[in-house]
């Protein structure tokens, strides 16, 4: 009996010993990325590519939304914040107050395709129609040339950069020279990730949602907006009306030669561009 107890006490001692010794343990080079779920696929693919090239570096990627990415960078919780929108004034202010100087790196371009179920006969909408659908003025597909079905409106959560982009480019419009922000209708569903939007649209024939270009696959249909189909070409040329850059933010411009610098410039290399394109986004430069 005594032996067992001694062992137990030993285990407890070892545990406390561990807690104290961890504080002085050796360092591994770690890059922590946090933020947008739209930039997520690019960041994840880059991370694997980078870790394969540089063994001994741990690149971790988390997808918690652009807003959380910004907060994390401000609190020095991450070294690179992935964002699908630019930083807001108040975020900049909070960052500077804490001695963090956000620097933006544009890693890719992205259109914001509107996704419907492939069985939906509607081929395209105008920006006005999309706005009307999301604000609730249009609530049935037959009003835009589709079948007689109630529209299920699916939006991203308000913490996401994709939501901000959508809100800024689609829901905000000029009325008599004044900027008016339409509110998304009350019955809309809010989903926490791009993949979640796609999953919802896949399973709901009457749904409409929006996600990053990299999330369009055969299970959903991207709509033409103002007669333009979202694709690499129409996004880079600016023809597709709902386009945006995707960012990685760092604290100051990273030191040349550092892992962070190599990582945020990876998209400029030929391989980086190929990865961006293969995932479905639009590389910043064209060869």
């Amino acid at each position: 009996m005594n032996m067992r107890l001694k062992r137990l006490i030993m285990a407890a001692l070892v545990a406390t010993g561990l807690c104290t010794s961890v504080a002085v343990a050796g360092e591994v080079d770690t890059l922590v990325l946090d933020g947008s779920t739209t930039v997520g696929p690019i960041a994840k693919a880059f991370a694997e590519y980078y870790m394969a090239k540089h063994p001994g570096v741990n690149v971790t990627v988390n997808e918690s939304g652009s807003g959380n990415g910004a907060k994390s960078l401000i609190n020095s919780g991450c070294s690179i914040a992935n964002m699908s929108r630019f930083m807001k004034d108040n975020e900049f202010a909070a960052a500077v107050e804490k001695g963090v100087m956000p620097v933006a790196h544009v890693v890719a371009m992205d259109g914001l395709p509107f996704l419907v179920h492939p069985s939906n006969p509607v081929k395209g909408l105008t920006v006005q129609q999309v706005r009307a659908i999301f604000s609730g003025a249009i609530s049935n597909w037959k009003e835009v040339g589709g079948p007689d079905r109630e529209i299920v409106v699916v939006s991203r959560d308000t913490n996401s950069g994709t939501y901000e982009t959508f809100h800024g480019l689609v829901m905000t419009h000029d009325v008599d020279g004044e900027k008016v922000k339409e509110k998304i209708k009350d019955g809309a569903e809010y989903v926490g990730s791009n993949g979640g939007i796609r999953a919802r649209v896949q399973s709901t024939p009457a749904a409409i949602g929006y996600a990053g270009l990299g999330f369009v696959d055969k299970t959903v249909k991207a709509l033409e907006v103002n007669g333009v189909y979202p694709s690499g070409q129409t996004v880079t040329s600016g023809l597709y009306p709902v386009s945006r850059p995707l960012f990685m933010f760092t604290n100051g411009y990273p030191k040349l030669g550092s892992h962070i610098h190599a990582f945020v410039t990876l998209h400029l290399s030929e391989q980086g561009q190929e990865i961006v394109e293969d995932i479905g986004f639009v590389p910043v430069t064209h060869y």
Partner: protein
């Protein structure tokens, strides 16, 4: 009469009991059977030659010589496909060359037509995608036909027209077909190695290969002719290539798919021990497994000593009174707090207030808070269950209070304490919410096997990554087997831990009795 009523009540209550047990059993089956049957597909499946190529190239496993031999046969089986495509591509290139020759001739004229042609001809080059070149030609043709002098060059126009008409529908179809072939068989020989591993290999699993074969043979279209929603139509791709040398290709692919991929039943234990490749499209779940183990053990290391000491205080030292009952209520309440609240607390306290890095230590501490109430309650109950006579006997022999607790009471209560601990381990392994902000990452390197190097590293973990792969992964539909495999592993871990708790308890109880 009263007796009859009683009997009836008795029977109905016992049958209710049986029914509810039955429902519970069925529910368990409904949940567990798909988890394990589909999860097993991550380990045992029909692996194709591409799977073996992946293992050999990426994980250096497998018999290289045998593979080379097999691959030679596969290459021979695939060659007709590539040959057919190449022949057809060459024929198309020839047609294009002819059209370019016509355009070049036109550009040598000395009028506005030449100027019109010359400007656009510059855009055509071998470096441009074939599709774009054909597109440019058809655009020039469009312009020429609208030109005032088009009658002059009617012969040339007709030639161009027939060329464009013959090619245009098939150019895009050919590109799509090439993609479908690459999806099924991997990149064509002689093409540049793609950057992403998912494009470097064809279908590694036969079940996925069948889906991709379907994609190759049939084009999915949607028929919107009806009034309501459209419905899916599968159109054989062969129709796009009727009366061309490509026609027999589809038949060949359909009947030689197995020869080209060599599916074979494979037992892939690497799913547990390999690192993932291309964000879980290939490879195993080692980082998740290791992360879960680190987090769970970490949580136990913190929670058990604190929990047992608290339980000893509550049951042995604390005088019954308002403060103690208040504390006890607090512990009970803590046990009922939703786990996401612990997650938020962990973020606010460990990360933001204590400036700990997001990583295993912060995650383990948060998890330990979550399981602490369970451990305190289980230990306290166990200590209370120790017969009073043990204490009295120990005290009567002259042992002090502390001595009694350490040598008599805690050992006697150990079965209960350990059961509580092991069950909490299961809970800690399965929790998602507390680690979202404190430890979890969608992608992270395999943690080092040295515990001292991992404390400040964010980590993947089974619970969080199952959620992440199901909702956020850009190819979520392609990797169902990985998702189910992870779920099966997690459920197995928890079940094994619980089973272990039961066995441990039985064994220690037996020992203490004997």
């Amino acid at each position: 009469m009263r007796l009859a009523t009683r009997k009836l009540l008795d029977v109905s209550s016992s049958s209710l009991g049986f029914i509810s047990i039955g429902i519970m059993g069925v529910a368990l089956l409904v949940i567990l059977v798909p988890i394990f049957s589909r999860g097993a597909q991550a380990f045992v499946f029909k692996g194709t030659i591409e799977h073996r190529r992946l293992l050999l190239e990426r994980f250096e496993r497998g018999d290289a010589a045998a593979f080379a031999e097999e691959y030679e046969a596969v290459r021979a089986a695939r060659q007709p496909v590539y040959d057919t495509i190449a022949t057809f591509g060459a024929a198309q290139q020839q047609t294009l060359d002819k059209m370019i020759a016509v355009l070049t001739r036109l550009s040598k004229r000395n009028d506005s037509i030449a100027r019109l042609v010359k400007r656009r001809l510059r855009r055509i080059s071998d470096d441009e995608p074939f599709l774009d070149n054909v597109d440019t030609v058809s655009k020039v043709l469009e312009r020429l036909e609208g030109h005032v002098d088009s009658a002059e060059i009617a012969g040339d126009l007709a030639l161009l027209h027939s060329g464009v008409d013959a090619m245009a529908p098939q150019v895009a179809a050919l590109e799509e077909l090439k993609d479908a072939v690459a999806n099924l068989l991997g990149p064509a020989p002689g093409t540049v190695q793609p950057a992403l591993p998912r494009r470097q290999y064809g279908a590694t699993r036969w079940d996925r290969a069948e889906v991709r074969l379907q994609d190759l043979l049939y084009e999915t279209l949607w028929d919107y002719s009806g009034d309501g929603m459209g419905h899916r139509v599968l159109k054989p791709r062969v129709e796009q290539f009727r009366d061309t040398p490509m026609e027999p290709l589809f038949d060949y692919v359909e009947h030689h798919a197995e020869a080209m991929l060599q599916p074979r039943w494979t037992c892939y234990w690497g799913f547990l021990f390999d690192k993932p490749l291309d964000i879980h499209i290939f490879g195993g779940i080692l980082p998740e497994l290791l992360g879960t183990i680190y987090l769970t053990i970490g949580a136990i290391l913190f929670a058990v000593p604190v929990g047992i000491i608290t339980a000893i205080y509550f049951s042995e030292y604390a005088r019954p009174g308002r403060i103690v009952s208040f504390l006890r209520t607090c512990v009970s309440t803590l046990a009922g707090v939703p786990s996401i609240v612990f997650g938020m607390f962990g973020l606010a306290f460990f990360l933001n207030a204590c400036h700990m890095p997001k990583g295993v230590l912060a995650g383990a501490l948060t998890l330990s808070l979550l399981i602490l109430p369970t451990i305190i309650r289980a230990s306290e109950e166990a200590i209370r269950a120790v017969p009073r006579t043990y204490r009295e006997a120990a005290l009567s022999l002259g042992a002090g209070r502390w001595h009694t607790i350490v040598t008599v009471i805690v050992p006697a209560a150990l079965p209960g304490i350990l059961t509580g601990t092991v069950i909490s381990m299961g809970r800690a392994a399965g929790e998602t919410a507390p680690i979202i902000f404190t430890a979890a990452a969608s992608v992270a390197a395999v943690l080092s096997f040295n515990p001292l190097q991992v404390w400040n590293q964010p980590t993947a973990s089974l619970s969080w990554n199952i959620y992440n792969l199901c909702t956020e992964h850009e190819a979520a539909n392609e990797i169902r087997h990985v998702q189910f495999g992870m779920v099966a592993v997690l459920v197995t871990v928890v079940l094994v831990l619980n089973l272990f708790a039961i066995l441990l308890r039985a064994r220690i109880a037996r020992k203490l009795k004997g």
